[in-house]
Subunit: 145 residues, 2 copies
Amino acid sequence: MENNQLKLENQICFKIYSAEREITKLYRNLLEELDVTYPQYLVLLVLWEEKSVTVKELGQKLFLDSGTLSPMLKRMEGNNLIDRRRSLEDERTVIISLTKKGEDLKNKAQCIPSKLLENLSLDMKELKSLNQTLSSILNRIQQKI
Amino acid sequence: MENNQLKLENQICFKIYSAEREITKLYRNLLEELDVTYPQYLVLLVLWEEKSVTVKELGQKLFLDSGTLSPMLKRMEGNNLIDRRRSLEDERTVIISLTKKGEDLKNKAQCIPSKLLENLSLDMKELKSLNQTLSSILNRIQQKI
DNA sequence: TAAAATTTAATTGTGCACAATTTATTTTAT
DNA sequence: ATAAAATAAATTGTGCACAATTAAATTTTA
C-alpha cells in the first residue's frame, strides 16, 4: 500500500513553510538598505500606523510573545529606531514609540510592498484567493488556541 | 494621502508568515508524542521515502543549508533517530540513514497528516487553490535565485 | 601531475521563535 | 488594609535559519 499522505511533495504545510522562508529572503534584499530584519520591519509597520504601542499590543498584532519581542525591541532601541519607556499609569507596561530615525525610514520603505509583489508576480485573482484562504486558516487556528 | 500599501493588514506576506508559525504550533502538539520538531519531522519524511540521502540532497529537498542541517542532524543522531557516516567513494559527503527507532516512528506518524488537515479544516477547493498558488510562488522565486 | 578551482560539510556569529520561569506591579477578594 | 491572584515584561534555555568563513576532499586544468 502506498503512503501518499507522508510524502513530502504532498505536504501543503511544507509549501507554506518553504514559501515563508523564500519570501523572507526576498524581503532581506529589499530591507538591507533600511538595515532592518523582516520581523523588525513588521514592528515598524505597526508604529508607522499607530505612533506608540505597548509591548503587549505589539504582541497581539504580530502574534509574538515577550520572549521574542523583548530582545528584538532592545536591538531596535540599540539601532536608534525606537524608544522604550515604562508607562506612568502602569509601571508594568512598556510603551514603544518611533525615534526620528525610525519615523524617517518610512519614506525609504514606500517602495517595498510593490517591489515585493512584483517579485512574487501573482495575478490579482491568485492574490485575492491566497489572501482569503490564509485569512480563513488564521481565523480557524486562532479560534482553537 | 492614505498609505494603504504599508498597512499591516494589507501585507499578504505577513499572513504567510503568521500562518506558517500557527501551523507549526499545531504540528508541535502532534509531534510532541514523537519527540521531534517540525524541521526534524521533515527530515524523517524524506528518509521514510528514500532510505538514505546525503546532507546535500536533504538540503536541496528541504531548501536548507548545512548551517541549519549539520547541527540539527547531530541532534537527531543524539536522539538515536538517524545514523551519519562519510561516504566511502567521496569522503566529502555525509550519508544520512534511519536507525531502527527512526524507522519505527513512521507508524506513529501515519495519523499526523490527516489530523493536521482536520485542524486546518480547509475544503477541497481551498486546499487545491492554496496548493497551486504556493507552488507557483515557489517556482517563480526559486527561478530568480 | 601539481597547482588551482570546485565541492561538501562543518563552524561561527547573529537573530528570531517559543516554552517555562521570574520579577515587578496592579487588581481582587477577603 | 492586606494577602492572594492576575498581569506585563524580562529572562533563561533550546532549536532553528542563514550569511560568511573554514577545512577537507575531489576535480579540473595548465
